[in-house]
Symmetry: C2
Subunit: 449 residues, 2 copies
């Protein structure tokens, strides 16, 4: 299915382009800069953030080019009317490639505020230009993965499936949200494209419109299993849940006689805490003990936990979670920022209240007692989280498969220090103090835009 080409190199803030033009004019594009990407504050009700989106960030950096049409659009902007060297800047954009080095915390790692998720070391022009896209792609997937982690935890080992695409912020947010949710432990998605591109198991049930389009519910169930005798979950709440369950059980018996099985039933309304045991009982009594119960209906971690309390046998097998997970409804944006840490070999610092940055290149060491944020040249006990991914613009090793990222993430959440505290190494503290003294009189206050 074809769409017109989109110039994603322009999916950035205009000031990245105008600053790039300025750096080029003032011969600063090639000063080596170090930028950190991190988040400032935990979203509501979160104890950590699961990093996600690195694969898409790296794909962007390695493919970044300016198409001729994009360049002409830039140079036609009113700001470039008096630009001193349009031909030089055009040539710079034509030759533009990302040639920098990127260190990253592996996807699926729980991280705390102020811990660098990415460290970008690149010529200033390149490092600055990529800010917006990197923030957007990492911020989005990390916020969804972090919400999904909570939902998966609430499900206590039961299966959680992403059903969110229809309520996502567009088709791409649905696709990449499915990816992020899978990283944090979801078992599958309803998003077919996420299955094709990322290998996530693709699952689904039926809509009420299927049931409504047949004369009776039993007709609708029979027609469905005739088409899909070994891959079927029947939606039992279109008319009456108990009656729907009996119809499903009857179809299950008919399937058994032909050597097939009724895979599952889905409940999408009603009081789940009372409906689930009733449905289980009807199915069991009709000999449909292997039939799974899928539940949905605006679920989130609170509703699932509540269900576990109110329905202590916790008989549902699969939770289909949509809106609440795909938009991280209770706090849908992460305070991701991208800050200059070093320029031309000189470490930078900001001192604004509540907006501290840490200077220079850094490393995070994870120990069982907590993380230590250190200067880049330090070698401390613990696992160093920042690992090189791109070196001089080139991927140094294939990125991990998504299923491996999920496994790593689940393990990392199990073994992470709890709570996830961060202490600053003596060396880094010392550097902060030296720079604080140096900058004490000019007190930087702002933040990026």
């Amino acid at each position: 299915m074809d769409f017109p080409p989109v110039f994603w190199e322009l999916a950035t803030d205009w000031y990245q382009i105008s600053m790039l033009g300025g750096y080029f004019h003032h011969k600063k594009v090639d000063q080596i800069a170090v930028f950190d990407l991190f988040y400032r504050q935990l979203p509501n009700h979160r104890e950590f953030i699961i990093t996600a989106g690195l694969e898409q960030a790296i794909e962007y950096l390695t493919r970044l080019r300016f198409d001729p049409e994009a360049i002409e659009f830039i140079l036609a902007h009113p700001a470039f009317k008096q630009y001193p060297d349009p031909e030089g800047f055009r040539a710079y954009l034509q030759a533009f490639r990302f040639t920098g080095t990127v260190l990253a915390v592996p996807e699926g790692t729980p991280v705390a505020p102020n811990e660098p998720i990415l460290e970008v070391i690149a010529p200033l022009g390149q490092a600055q230009l990529v800010e917006t896209y990197l923030l957007c792609v990492i911020g989005h997937q990390s916020i969804v993965a972090s919400k999904a982690a909570r939902i998966v935890q609430a499900a206590q080992g039961k299966v959680v499936i992403d059903f969110g695409t229809r309520r996502a912020h567009g088709r791409e947010a649905g696709l990449l949200g499915a990816r992020a949710a899978y990283i944090a432990g979801c078992s599958g998605t309803s998003n077919v494209l996420a299955g094709m591109l990322f290998g996530i198991p693709v699952v689904g049930t039926q809509a009420h419109s299927w049931i409504q389009s047949f004369p009776t519910e039993l007709d609708a169930f029979r027609a469905y299993v005739e088409t899909y005798p070994d891959n079927n979950t029947l939606l039992i709440d279109t008319y009456d849940i108990a009656e729907g369950t009996r119809h499903a059980a009857q179809v299950g018996k008919e399937l058994q006689q032909k050597g097939h099985t009724l895979g599952g039933v889905r409940i999408d309304s009603g009081n789940l805490a009372t409906e689930i045991p009733r449905v289980r009982q009807i199915l069991d009594q009709a000999g449909q003990k292997t039939t799974k119960i899928v539940v949905s209906n605006d679920l989130n971690e609170y509703k699932i936990s509540d269900l576990a309390k109110r329905e202590p046998e916790f008989l549902a097998d699969i939770f289909g979670v949509g809106t609440e997970m795909i938009v991280a409804r209770d706090d849908p944006a992460l305070s991701v920022v991208y800050k200059l840490a070093e320029i031309d070999g000189c470490p930078c610092i900001k001192l604004s209240s509540g907006k501290v940055t840490y200077p220079g290149r850094k490393q995070i060491f994870r120990t069982k007692d907590g993380d230590v944020l250190a200067s880049g040249e330090e070698d401390l006990p613990g696992r160093p989280l920042l690992q090189p991914v791109l070196v001089n613009g080139t991927l140094i090793a294939p990125l991990p498969e998504l299923a491996d990222i999920q496994q790593y993430c689940l393990e990392a959440m199990k073994t992470m220090p709890k709570p996830l505290t961060v202490t600053i190494s003596p060396n880094l503290t010392n550097l902060v103090e030296i720079l604080t003294a140096k900058y004490a009189q000019i007190k930087p206050k702002g933040k990026h835009k």
Copy 2:
């Protein structure tokens, strides 16, 4: 900039595909169905929703095709292992085109819950398949446009600019969010691609990293205006706002001597209610009366209204709004649904408590006293909101330009009935009663998934 091709025809829930396979197998794909797309409940703090996303919905419907690779992915799914007629279904998918008719409320119209935003009249297989994508693209842009409308209103005629891409749910959400925000009255965006694709004015200022990368703030300001003598907004809060303003004013004077002007200054931190008048005074006293004041820093409609109260002269000229608008932070998802209203000529109804649907084809008549939701064949006083856009798969007229949609939207908000009440016409009420009596014993309860 190239990315691998993406099979957006698969950006849908798996159950749309499995139901399509079922409808094909049971020879129901060509029964004519009518589906309504509407939202059930107002998001928190909203009095109406501004519709947006129609252009992207229509683009999808008119381009929808199944690539051979996408078809093979579908047929390789476990559900299709025992599928009775894979060759027939493959041929159906190969020939798939959307040949239906779509009526839509024009983009930029304020609508109430339960009012159809789209009415899709198409062969059942087609009408069902497109559900997920349509919900996602209309829901996303409508939620952003509706948030933007509130922010623009709070700004009382001052300029509002979208600065949100970095906090959007991915690059596409940033792009289309910029489009939605513009529809509801924003004057521009920082998103360069939104400028290129949609003609939205593209604006920007500077990052603190620009200031930090020069030895002094004054050096940084002078360098910037040397590059952009007639298109410049200087960020004055990196070190000290008053001092930054004096530096900017000095650069403004230097520009004046060369026949140029200082366009603006931006404040991105601090107590805006006290900083803005102080900055205005310093600029005015230095003869920089035309220099605009741009403010940003996690703004939303509440903070802007509060600023208008606490700083009664309301001296800021331009509000740069990011996170809060692009993710509609206080309620980031719209309860959009897509419901069967008629199948094979028979109107359908659902009776679940709180989940009522209205049967058959419909029309909305807008009068100054409120809306009337009527049956499709009725002709009542007022402006009919649902207008044909696609007829038998073909666009009947070019879609409006984005600037015209914005103008229409601003006018529609001014002239809309307040509050936006909806009454049901006697004919439609009558039809509901007839169907209620008919279905009374089976009481449908569920909703789609």
